[in-house]
């Protein structure tokens, strides 16, 4: 038997999505509530003073950033928990003894985590329509950036889940690394609003490229060229895939 075991991929994907739908209301309620709070705090309170950024109403300007924030949080947490839980419960053995390799396990877990993140981000978008008028200039590219970012960060979350030996470790990377990167990546402001030195520093943050590209798909505004944003996501995906392949090939934190 050669080639990818697609039924194996489907089994993992279905299994993960079932878990999501089993707790659908909890899965959706928390991000929707957070979004409403962000709109109240950033849109109404602060937005009243900022008015507009580069010609876009501030409330609408933060929508791509909020969606990206959700995508990154959900992708990382779903993918990391998805693979960590079998390690914790001991059921990881099933994946290691069955005819599925790194590619099937990754496609199943990461595909499901990315799908959940995209679904939630779209719910956030719908929620935002209740607060501000948002016009999407390039819907195709909006979806493309959404899906690619979800995949990239699901892959990163998957690596975190493979690496983690405890629930504490599972939490620490999203809290200490990803959240700061999102907030410093221009989720709620344009990098061009920063002084030149800090604008240069901000451009070292990979998340800035995602948010910039994503915001471009909404308003045609970008801190960095769109092509660079796409290359940044592609590099992230390729690097994460290489790391995952190495983990499965060596059995690091998986096999004895």
């Amino acid at each position: 038997m050669t080639g990818i075991n697609w039924r194996g991929v489907g089994a993992i994907f279905h299994h993960e999505m079932t878990r999501f739908f089993r707790t659908i209301w909890q899965s959706l309620a928390s991000p929707v509530l957070s979004t409403v709070l962000y709109f109240v705090v950033f849109g109404a309170a602060i937005g009243g003073r900022i008015q507009s950024v580069e010609g876009v109403e501030y409330g609408a300007f933060i929508v791509p950033g909020l969606m990206m924030l959700t995508i990154l949080q959900q992708a990382v947490s779903n993918a990391s928990f998805g693979i960590y839980f079998p390690k914790f419960s001991g059921t990881i053995y099933e994946y290691l003894v069955s005819p599925v390799g790194w590619i099937e396990v990754t496609l199943g877990f990461v595909g499901a985590a990315a799908a959940k993140a995209v679904l939630i981000a779209l719910v956030i978008l719908l929620t935002s329509f209740a607060f501000v008028g948002v016009h999407i200039l390039h819907p195709f590219w909006m979806l493309a950036f959404l899906i690619l970012s979800a995949l990239g960060f699901s892959l990163l979350g998957f690596i975190i889940g493979l690496w983690a030996k405890s629930f504490e470790q599972l939490q620490i990377v999203p809290m200490m690394v990803i959240m700061p990167l999102v907030f410093l990546g221009g989720a709620f402001y344009s990098a061009s609003m920063l002084p030149p030195f800090w604008e240069g520093v901000a451009k070292l943050n990979p998340v800035l490229y995602l948010i910039s590209g994503f915001r471009w798909s909404f308003f045609g505004l970008a801190d960095v060229p769109v092509g660079v944003s796409l290359v940044a996501v592609a590099i992230m995906i390729v690097m994460c895939m290489a790391v995952i392949r190495w983990i499965f090939a060596t059995g690091w934190r998986l096999r004895e």
Partner: protein, 309 residues
């Protein structure tokens, strides 16, 4: 029947230097049931783990159904079902979904009729919609068996299938294994219980310190393990064993106060009654008698020391 598993000079050495498997070679025929006996840490679980893909060997080869477990792992693993020693189940998942999931993982198309058949055979059908965390320990172990059988494997590994289960459930497990035997599934089980090996296995392999010390037909091995020693304490010491009793399997202690008689518990006549009668006829008074059977551990130890010599 041809060999379905061929293990050739298999070894596993950890970075710490511990040799978990040391040059193990074994051939297992299709449809055979083989029990691997050995004390804790002997290497039984490591052997199973290597064949199933959980542990990477440091030397040797394993072929399952003619497929090398390292170079042709997909085809090899499709033939194998594993029931692990530890109970590991997704706690919130329904029993039937757990079994369906495993079938899918092995690339098999959905077949609810087959899954119903195995759940019924394992008395789990009534619990199919229960979350696994609601089940008793014995039921959980059966779910693990159902999962291992979900993709219709040709080879089933049972790692300590009856560890920690009560006598009634152990009997049920044996019945399940009997059913599988009739269906032609090759079964490799590890156990501490001699009784379990005797009940189920065609052959028994003894492992200690990572080495496969012997593999013999169960009946042959049980004959050896079935030997007991009768110790007879005498009222007065004997200078020597009476000449007409010398042909019996008797030995006299140094102080002449104890006679030891080896006998086979499984023999039609053990010879105990006749021996006691013969002693009485010769005026040798017996004060007390006691019997002793070598424990499995003692047999292991003697095998290990023989091997080391």
């Amino acid at each position: 029947m041809g060999a379905i598993i061929e293990i050739d000079h298999l070894s596993k050495q950890y970075d710490s230097g511990t040799k978990a498997l040391d040059d193990v070679s074994l051939s297992i025929s299709e449809g055979e049931i083989i029990a691997l006996l050995g004390p804790n840490g002997a290497g039984k679980t490591t052997l199973i783990s290597v064949i199933c893909g959980l542990v990477v060997p440091t030397g040797g080869t394993v072929r399952v159904g003619g497929h090398d477990i390292r170079t042709d792992w997909r085809a090899a693993r499709k033939l194998i079902g594993l029931v692990p020693q530890e109970i590991a189940l997704e706690p919130f998942e329904k029993v039937i979904n757990c079994v369906r999931f495993t079938r899918g993982l092995y690339g098999m198309p959905p077949d609810d009729a087959y899954i119903e058949r195995i759940l019924r055979a394992l008395s789990l059908w009534d619990k199919r919609d229960a979350a696994t965390r609601e089940l008793s320990g014995g039921m959980k172990r059966r779910v693990l068996i159902a999962k291992a059988l979900s993709h219709q494997p040709k080879v089933l590994f049972l790692d300590e299938p009856t560890a920690g289960v009560d006598v009634a459930l152990r009997r049920e497990m044996w019945e399940v294994v009997g059913e599988l035997r009739r269906e032609g599934v090759t079964i490799i089980l590890t156990t501490h219980y001699l009784e379990e090996a005797e009940e189920m296995a065609d052959r028994v392999g003894v492992i200690a310190r990572g080495r496969l010390l012997l593999v013999r037909p169960t009946a042959e091995l049980m004959g050896e393990f079935g030997k007991k020693t009768l110790t007879i304490e005498l009222d007065a010491p004997l200078a020597a064993i009476p000449a007409d009793l010398a042909t019996r399997d008797l030995s006299l202690s140094a102080d002449g106060r104890q006679l030891a008689f080896d006998y086979d518990t499984r023999a039609e006549r053990t010879g105990i009654a006749r021996l006691l009668g013969d002693l009485a006829a010769r005026g040798i008074t017996v004060r007390d008698v006691s019997t002793r059977q070598s424990s499995l551990e003692e047999v292991f130890l003697s095998l290990v020391s023989e091997n080391a010599a």
